[in-house]
Every structure is written in structure tokens, then in C-alpha cells.
């Protein structure tokens, strides 16, 4: 019986005759699916290339224009104009990560390793629900509720920790500052980081968790020995996805921040650098000619920032591939 089976598997003559001209229906399905999968893969590349081309072509007038022309018909010389916005974009996103990452990892760990199952599941759902809140709503909440409510906190920080440059300066009266943006952005990227981290934490091999526990590790030590090293690439991927969202977030920033164009690390004042996305959104309706090109070129800068961030993430993930959890 076994012999027959191996014959059937190895002997091409035993299956449907390839020379008979009748295509095997199973193989046709295989071909269709392969074509579909390849098509999907190519489509995403094409779309990306199209977007990049659009940004390059439509933005290039501003990139290569005479500075004098940009000053008279546009928003001013390109690099000095875009730099504060690029800074604002990165600064806001980094601050948001600073808030969101520890909290996300904490929640994810609580769900995956600490909470009793009855609590863990509903908590997971609530977190996922947070991802479904539209950014307009976050913007409304941030400007109408959070910003005014946080003013006392900002004043306290300014009074007591004002010697740190971050908290120095004149506190903005309405609370619409970088700090508020960071909190709102953190809330928005929290769900995606949390649910991805939770997934990788749950996949940490039981084998290694038990190895750590059997050596006399406490639960936290076990997590440090067996869960984090395994989850590291996943955590980085999650953080980068969150960062991507924070970098590109438009609506909430537009609604909360009355941004200006100065590079400052002070997070409590009313003089805050705007972000690229919010700048584009605020100026696009009235822009024409060279101004439009300039906004699109700013979009190209945002695109490049995201690209670089992703490449750094790839590099971090691959750096210790030899030590990866797959063995």
C-alpha cells in the first residue's frame, strides 16, 4: 500500500497525463491564485510608484523654483519654510510615542500575561474599539475637553519643572499646545500598538516561558527573559506602525493646534511648530500655482520621513536576525 502510494507520488505517469492536453483543474486553480496574488503584489508597488511620481512631478516646480519667485508667489524659500513643519511633525510623533509605547506595552502585557481571562478579553475589545474612533472626534475632544482641562497641569509643570527647557516659557492659556497634541496622538496610536504587542506577546513560546519559570524567575523576570526578546521585532514593528500614524495624522492636529513656524522644544507654550500634514490641510483650500506645488513638495518630505523611519525599523529588526526566536 505504501509502496503504491509513493509510486503514485513520484511517478509522473501515475497521475493525470501531462501530455494529454487536458489541463488539470486543480492546477488551473493554483495558477489563477498565483496570478491573483502576484497581481496584488504588483498593484501595491505600482500605487506606491504612482504616489511618489505624483509628489515628485507636482512638487518639483516648488523644489526647483527661483527662491525669489517662491518668496513673491509662494510661502517663501522652500527649505527654511518646510523645516519647522518637518520638525513639528517628528517632534509631535516622538512625544506621542513617548507616552504611548510604555502604556501600550503595559496594557498588552496585562492582557496577555497578567489579567484573568474574564477580564483580558473585554479589555482587548475596548482597546480595539478605541481604534475605531474617527480622528475628528479625537480632535474635538482634544480641543474642547482635554486642552482646557489640562491647563492646571501645564501650569503646575511650568511652575515646578520650569527649569527644564521642555516645560519653560509662557504656558498657553487654552492648553492648545504640543503637550496636548502628544496626548491626543498617543491616545490615537495606543490601540494599534497595544493590539499588535498583545498578539506577539501571546505567541511567545510556552517552552521558553517555562524554561525561565523553572529557573526560578518571577513572572516579570520571565517576561524579560522569554517574552520581550522574542517579541522585540514585533514591538518595533508595532511602534513603527504607530509612529507612521502619528506622523501622518492631520485632523486632530489641525483642530487642536494653532501652529506657527518656529522650531522649539518647549511643549507648553502657544508658539508651537505645526506639522506637515496639518499645514497642508489648513492651506490647501486657498492655495494655487506655486503655493500648491510647495504644499505637495512638503507632502514629499513627509513621505521621505516615513520612508526613512520604516527603513530604520527594518534595519533594527534585521540586525540581530541570528538571534531571532525562530529555532
Amino acid at each position: 500500500m505504501t509502496q503504491k502510494l509513493t509510486r503514485a507520488l513520484t511517478d509522473p505517469g501515475a497521475g493525470p497525463d501531462p501530455s494529454s492536453g487536458m489541463p488539470d483543474p486543480k492546477r488551473r486553480g493554483d495558477r489563477i491564485f498565483r496570478g491573483f496574488a502576484m497581481g496584488a503584489g504588483i498593484t501595491i508597488l505600482v500605487i506606491l510608484a504612482l504616489v511618489a511620481t505624483f509628489l515628485l512631478v507636482q512638487g518639483s516646480p516648488a523644489l526647483f523654483a527661483d527662491p525669489a519667485k517662491l518668496i513673491s508667489q509662494g510661502y517663501g524659500e522652500f527649505l527654511p519654510w518646510v523645516l519647522p513643519y518637518a520638525f513639528g511633525t517628528i517632534w509631535a510623533a516622538v512625544l506621542a510615542l513617548l507616552f504611548a509605547v510604555p502604556v501600550s506595552i503595559g496594557i498588552a502585557l496585562f492582557i496577555s500575561h497578567y489579567a484573568p481571562r474574564r477580564l483580558a478579553q473585554p479589555l482587548g475589545y475596548v482597546i480595539d474599539l478605541l481604534a475605531a474612533v474617527p480622528s475628528v472626534v479625537f480632535g474635538l475632544w482634544g480641543s474642547l475637553v482635554l486642552a482646557p482641562a489640562a491647563v492646571p497641569l501645564y501650569e503646575w509643570l511650568n511652575a515646578n519643572l520650569g527649569f527644564i527647557p521642555l516645560f519653560s516659557g509662557q504656558v498657553s492659556g487654552g492648553g492648545r499646545n504640543m503637550f496636548t497634541i502628544a496626548i491626543v496622538l498617543a491616545t490615537m496610536i495606543l490601540p494599534i500598538i497595544t493590539s499588535l504587542c498583545r498578539e506577539v506577546f501571546l505567541q511567545a513560546p510556552r517552552l521558553h516561558e517555562e524554561a525561565a519559570l523553572a529557573l526560578g524567575a518571577t513572572r516579570w523576570e520571565m517576561i524579560k527573559m522569554a517574552v520581550f526578546p522574542f517579541a522585540r521585532p514585533g514591538i518595533i514593528a508595532a511602534v513603527m506602525l504607530g509612529l507612521g500614524r502619528a506622523l501622518g495624522e492631520t485632523m486632530a492636529v489641525t483642530m487642536i493646534l494653532s501652529g506657527s513656524r518656529n522650531i522649539t522644544f518647549e511643549v507648553l507654550t502657544s508658539q508651537n511648530p505645526n506639522t506637515i500634514a496639518a499645514t497642508i490641510a489648513q492651506n490647501f483650500p486657498e492655495a494655487f500655482g506655486l503655493k500648491t506645488s510647495q504644499l505637495i513638495a512638503a507632502g514629499l518630505v513627509l513621505f521621505l520621513i516615513t520612508l526613512v523611519v520604516n527603513m530604520i525599523a527594518r534595519w533594527i529588526v534585521s540586525r540581530r536576525a541570528e538571534y531571532s526566536g525562530a529555532n
Binding site: H208, E210, G216, A217, P229, A326
Partner: protein, 259 residues
């Protein structure tokens, strides 16, 4: 460095299900004790109660007592983490930490206990542990490489080195050779007979030849049927269990006339 284990009327439950019933056994120090029996008879479960590793499974609990040289592992105020530092364990599948080097793997347990061990003492301990695990010669030139690059048998010996680096009182081995080839198995068996000079060793095995080869005492576990708890049928010197067991079921199992 080696202690006697005594259990009295030990019952293990998973939720409401009683997995192991009324096990009373004495495990001698400086000897190898083998647990044999069909799958699902509770021998692995029972083994895990000896270092409280069963508590990792939600809903698992124990009634009765386990005495380690007279000290009850389940007494009030006994920390399971401390128990596991005294009672080492080696698992069915080799599980070195994949992100750690060979050296870091050996020191993994030590890092939990004494944060600051001088470098030369660390190196000494790594060499001593790897030598005891018969692995030193094979890895001495690549201590900084990841442990996951070793063969299965080497990985398992690395796990043994990791366990004995902690200087445990007892070493529990849950089918340590079942994922290994015969040559690696032999290496581990040789190692066991060396290690029993120092440690109390308890091994669960499905391989009866292995039990006969390595153990001084053999305990036979069995279940009456699916859903009923596992019980200790008999235990005694390995020679006796394999030649003239007292219970018919033991003889049937050992001679392969089972079920």
C-alpha cells in the same frame, strides 16, 4: 546538594478534574528515580508538582504535601519561585533561550539570583557547568554564539548545564530524550549516571529500556481508564520492578502485554 523527596497522599487537580490520586512515594537522594507508565497516567503532572511548575497551568492545584528533606514545598509562606530555584527542571523539548548566547544561557538562572557575580567566577561557573553536562569540549570555542545554533542533543545538554549551574538540590527531567536521536540519548544517559553522584534525579520516560539502564528506583503509574485519575501502582528498586514486580499491571506494562 542533594535532598530526599517525600510525598504523602498527593492529589493533583485541573479545575474539578482529579488528574493524579493519592501518590505516596519517597525519592532517594543521590539516585535516579524513573517514572514510567502509559501516556496520560499523570507522571509528568506529578513530576511538575515537585517544583510547583504545575501552577503555571490555570486551575491546577495540589492537595497533600511534598517534603524536601522534611520541608513542605506547599507550606504556608513558601514561595514557588524559591522552590524552583532549588529544584531544577529539564523539559521534553530542548529550550535554550534563543536570544542568548551559550554562555548567557548557562548563566540565565544565576543572573536571577545573584545580580553581581564577578566575571572570573562567572567564567568558572560556565566552564564547570558545561563540563558537568559533557558539553564543554564541543562549545568552548563558541560560548558567545547563540544557543539555538547547537544540535538538539547539544541544546538539551545546554539546558542541563543551565539547570545545574543553579546548584539545585533536585533535578527533574521530563522525558529529556524523547526529541533526541539515539547517540544524543546515550550522551544524556551517561550524564545522568554522573550527575546522580551529586543530585537527586527524577526522570519521566516512555522508554522502558532507558528506565532500566539509568534508574535505581522505578515507579510505575497507571490509569484505570480515560477520565479517571492516574495512580502510583508500585515503586521499588529498578531490578525488582523489571524482574519480579508485585503487581500484575506492572508486569503487563513492562513486558508489553498492555491494554
Amino acid at each position: 546538594m542533594s535532598k530526599r523527596i517525600e510525598t504523602t497522599d498527593l492529589n493533583v487537580y485541573y479545575g474539578d478534574f482529579r488528574a493524579v490520586e493519592d501518590v505516596t512515594i519517597t525519592i532517594q537522594p543521590r539516585a535516579v528515580t524513573a517514572f514510567i507508565g502509559p501516556s496520560g497516567c499523570g507522571k509528568s503532572t506529578f513530576l511538575r508538582t515537585l517544583n510547583r511548575m504545575h501552577e503555571v497551568i490555570p486551575g491546577a492545584r495540589v492537595e497533600g504535601e511534598v517534603l524536601l528533606d522534611g520541608e513542605n514545598l506547599y507550606g504556608a509562606g513558601v514561595d514557588p519561585v524559591r522552590v524552583r530555584r532549588q529544584v531544577g527542571m529539564v523539559f521534553q523539548r530542548p529550550n535554550p533561550f534563543p536570544t542568548m548566547s551559550i554562555k548567557e544561557n548557562v548563566l540565565a538562572g544565576i543572573k536571577l539570583n545573584f545580580n553581581r557575580m564577578p566575571r572570573n567566577e562567572q567564567d568558572e561557573l560556565v566552564e564547570r557547568s558545561l563540563r558537568s553536562a559533557n558539553l564543554w569540549e564541543e562549545v568552548k570555542n563558541r560560548l558567545e554564539l547563540p544557543g539555538s545554533g547547537l544540535s538538539g542533543g547539544q541544546q538539551q545538554r545546554l539546558c542541563i548545564a543551565r539547570a545545574i549551574a543553579m546548584a539545585p538540590e533536585v533535578l527533574l527531567m521530563d522525558e529529556p530524550c524523547s526529541a533526541l536521536d539515539p547517540i544524543s540519548t546515550l550522551a544524556i544517559e551517561d550524564l545522568m549516571s554522573e550527575l546522580k553522584e551529586k543530585y537527586t534525579i527524577v526522570i519521566v520516560t516512555h522508554n522502558m529500556q532507558q528506565a532500566a539502564r539509568v534508574s535505581d528506583t522505578t515507579a510505575f503509574f497507571n490509569i484505570a481508564g480515560t477520565g479517571s485519575p492516574g495512580r502510583l501502582i508500585e515503586s521499588g528498586p529498578t531490578d525488582k520492578i523489571f524482574s519480579t514486580p508485585d503487581v500484575k499491571a506492572t508486569e503487563d506494562y513492562i513486558s508489553g502485554r498492555f491494554g
